[in-house]
């Protein structure tokens, strides 16, 4: 068993980190350090590139290898130059949803198209967090933020599907709740030859109060965020959790809660569902019976089970096709007449 300080002492340059209490950044850094340590990759052969935003601070200055902290949105383009010139560098990119899918979205899809051997970890906290919690290309429709006080009029990207469609050869999506799965996925990405992409759903206790309309005390935040990611996410290829139903209210969610609590053999509470907003989660041992009863309540507009409108996590793509830097080396041999 490794000591609590093992990763910190070997791989972390400066401490304490600048992350807010409860931030997902530290979790993601820890998963990355475990992945490279398990694989035995020499930190002096790793180049960690980042852009601007909270995600950029995960490697820079904390990761004690080579780091390149660049301009907003351009981390993948900087990394492309370094990797193309020196393919021996294990080149990883830490980016965010605004950095990678907003201002830097063009570089993201083109790097995926080239299938260049970069490992891109995109931290999605559904907002521009460092600048104060503005709407991002990932903010849910209708969500209130500092720049969408009447609700977000836009709809979000599904970044994972976007990158997969653009031609990435390893695509996965996990959250800071799934630390074991995320660490394993990072290991797979680091061993994969080609453009490897992991979208990491993360929390921002500082800004998500606004983004998800959470008004509670700060200490109540991490469990609620985890609830959204942990209990409302659906892992591809894994049997779903049974026993939860979600009653979507017609009007006041509290009225729905009162009616649902009155049903026999159930536990009900109000939760924030990632797709439906505030709903009543009903825990039951007899889902079919409860579904019918819930549907008949006057304050219930609809009933959803645990798979509907959930965020799907897991492995999305693993395939092989020519890798860009290898193609560049082949071109050099051809040009030299070898």
């Amino acid at each position: 068993m490794k000591s609590l300080y093992y990763y910190r002492d070997r791989y972390v340059r400066a401490q304490p980190t600048a992350f807010c209490p409860g931030c997902g950044g530290g979790i993601i850094l820890q998963c990355f350090l475990r992945a490279i340590d398990d694989l035995g990759i020499d930190k002096d052969r790793i180049l960690a590139v980042s852009g601007i935003g909270c995600s950029a601070w995960i490697p820079s200055p904390y990761f004690d290898g080579d780091t390149l902290h660049t301009t907003h949105g351009r981390a993948i383009a900087f990394a492309t130059g370094a990797k193309a010139f020196n393919p021996d560098l294990t080149t990883v990119v830490f980016t965010g949803d605004g950095d990678g899918a907003g201002i830097g979205g063009n570089h993201l899809i083109h790097a995926a198209r080239r299938n260049i051997d970069l490992k891109v970890f995109l931290v999605n906290n559904f907002s521009y967090a460092m600048t104060g919690g503005q709407i991002a290309p990932t903010t849910l429709h209708g969500e209130t933020t500092v720049t969408s006080p009447y609700g977000n009029p836009e709809s979000p990207f599904d970044i994972t599907q976007l990158v997969k469609a653009a031609g990435a050869t390893y695509v996965a999506k996990w959250s800071t709740y799934h630390v074991v799965e995320l660490t394993n996925a990072m290991k797979e990405a680091l061993q994969h030859k080609g453009f490897s992409f992991i979208e990491i759903l993360s929390q921002c206790p500082t800004q998500q109060r606004r983004v998800f309309n959470l008004r509670g005390a700060l200490e109540s935040l991490p469990p609620r965020i985890l609830e959204m990611f942990g209990e409302s996410t659906y892992v591809r290829g894994r049997p779903g959790k049974t026993g939860y139903l979600y009653a979507v209210p017609k009007g006041d969610v509290k009225e729905t809660l009162i009616q649902a609590e009155a049903l026999e053999g159930v536990k009900a509470r109000i939760v924030d569902h990632i797709g439906f907003g505030q709903v009543v989660r009903v825990e039951t041992k007899q889902p079919e019976v409860t579904r019918e009863k819930l549907g008949g309540l006057s304050s219930v507009g609809g009933v959803a089970d645990h798979l509907e409108k959930k965020i799907e996590v897991g492995l999305f793509e693993r395939s092989e096709r020519p890798e860009f830097t290898e193609s560049l080396r082949a071109i050099m041999r051809k040009a030299k007449g070898e």
């Binding site: 340059r13 400066a14 930190k43 002096d44 052969r45 180049l47 590139v49 820079s60 200055p61 004690d64 290898g65 080579d66 780091t67 390149l68 902290h69 660049t70 301009t71 351009r74 383009a77 900087f78 990394a79 492309t80 130059g81 370094a82 990797k83 193309a84 010139f85 020196n86 021996d88 560098l89 063009n106 570089h107 083109h110 560049l328 071109i331 050099m332 051809k334 040009a335 030299k336």
Partner: protein, 376 residues
């Protein structure tokens, strides 16, 4: 690559050849007229010498990857024209702050905006000087012939490596697209960046009087902290006024201290001149013809051609103001560099602005008329 010796070739090809001779091993760019032939030539030639050619998705990505490659150890370059040059500015600022050696070729075309997209201009000289936000000192040099497209590209790389800074090669659509004689020398003088001798070096600080720090590369075990944020000599971010002043003044002063060495002026018939034509790049060509015609008429005219535009050669222009009765500034824009000349001359000589827009070179007789007017 062209063999050493005489060739008839295009300005852009001469630029690409100069880059290869200077040791350029990485190019990233995006297609744009009138700069494209540089990338055509390098896409064929770079792989032969083990170099990397990338066509990126836009000019922002081109500039980004050039910086990434430079830190991976490459002598790196991009080439573009006005609109692309505008897109590159943020990352050019990043290259200044991180002291990244690289070469940007701007084959200037007539703007603003799409303008006369294939026609030459010299309208971007202040964009070269002040294009990125923040304070910095830039090196910009300007060729007037196919031969100088070769020679000054070599010089641009050498200056970039010597002073660890981005260098602007301010060409234009005329010099880039004419075919002229190029003599490729047997050997060119090549300068390489100073590499650190130990792993405890400070890549953003130095005791060396040149103020230019040593530059390690990624993958050499230096655990580099490259950042565009204000940083300590070891790279760690720190945004206090003291560190910001220390860093940004040093980045400025390493260029200003070296200004006498960076300075490069081509003088023709200036010894006894009473009227000077100050010009640079393509517009110096009709200027020279006009000077020769004026001499034929008995007017003591001379050509004062700036091969280095930035840093502006204040000492020499100041001496020029004391020497001549009038300075005619010939440039393909509204009249831009004339402001620097006026600032330095400070009323000691008559300064005439002969700007011209429209994508056309000055006619020699236009310059000659200005010389006659100034001499009268």
């Amino acid at each position: 690559m062209l063999e050493p010796g005489r060739h008839l070739t295009l300005g852009n090809v001469a630029c690409a050849e100069g880059a290869l001779r200077a040791g350029c091993r990485f190019f990233a760019g995006y297609p744009i007229t009138p700069a494209s032939e540089i990338s055509h030539h390098l896409s064929a030639e770079l792989p032969k010498v083990g170099g990397v050619f990338l066509q990126m998705e836009d000019e922002i990505a081109s500039m980004s990857s050039v910086i990434g490659a430079s830190w991976a150890g490459a002598k790196a370059m991009t080439a573009t024209s006005g609109p692309g040059y505008s897109l590159m500015q943020e990352n050019i600022g990043y290259a200044h702050m991180t002291e990244t050696p690289l070469v940007v070729v701007n084959v200037q075309r007539s703007g603003p905006s799409t303008g006369q997209s294939t026609d030459p201009s010299q309208q971007d000289i202040y964009q070269a000087r002040y294009g990125a936000h923040g304070d910095y000192e830039v090196i910009a040099i300007s060729p007037w012939s196919v031969q100088e497209m070769f020679d000054l590209t070599v010089r641009a790389f050498n200056l970039a490596e010597a002073y660890r800074t981005p260098v602007m090669l301010m060409s234009d659509g005329l010099v880039a697209h004419i075919q002229e004689k190029l003599v490729v020398p047997e050997k060119v003088e090549v300068v390489d960046r100073r590499k650190p001798t130990s792993k405890s070096s400070t890549p953003w600080g130095t005791d060396d009087p040149s103020l230019v720090p040593e530059m390690p590369a990624f993958g050499e075990g230096h655990r580099l902290l490259v950042t565009g944020s204000t940083h300590r000599p070891d790279g760690m971010r720190i945004v206090t006024p003291q560190y910001h002043q220390m860093t940004v003044y040093r980045i400025r002063d390493k260029i200003l201290n070296a200004e006498p060495k960076i300075r490069d002026i081509h003088r023709v018939q200036m010894e006894d001149a009473e009227v000077a034509v100050l010009s640079f790049g393509a517009s110096a060509r009709p200027s020279l013809e006009a000077v020769n015609q004026a001499r034929g008429e008995g007017i003591k005219a001379g050509l004062f051609r700036l091969k280095t535009i930035w840093p502006f050669p204040e000492e020499d222009v100041s001496a020029l103001a004391d020497q001549v009765d009038a300075v005619i500034v010939v440039e393909m824009n509204f009249g831009k560099l004339v402001r620097e000349v006026e600032r330095v001359a400070c009323g000691r000589t008559k300064v005439v602005s002969l700007g011209k827009i429209g994508g056309q070179l000055h006619m020699a007789r236009e310059v000659l008329e200005a010389i006659r007017g100034a001499a009268a």
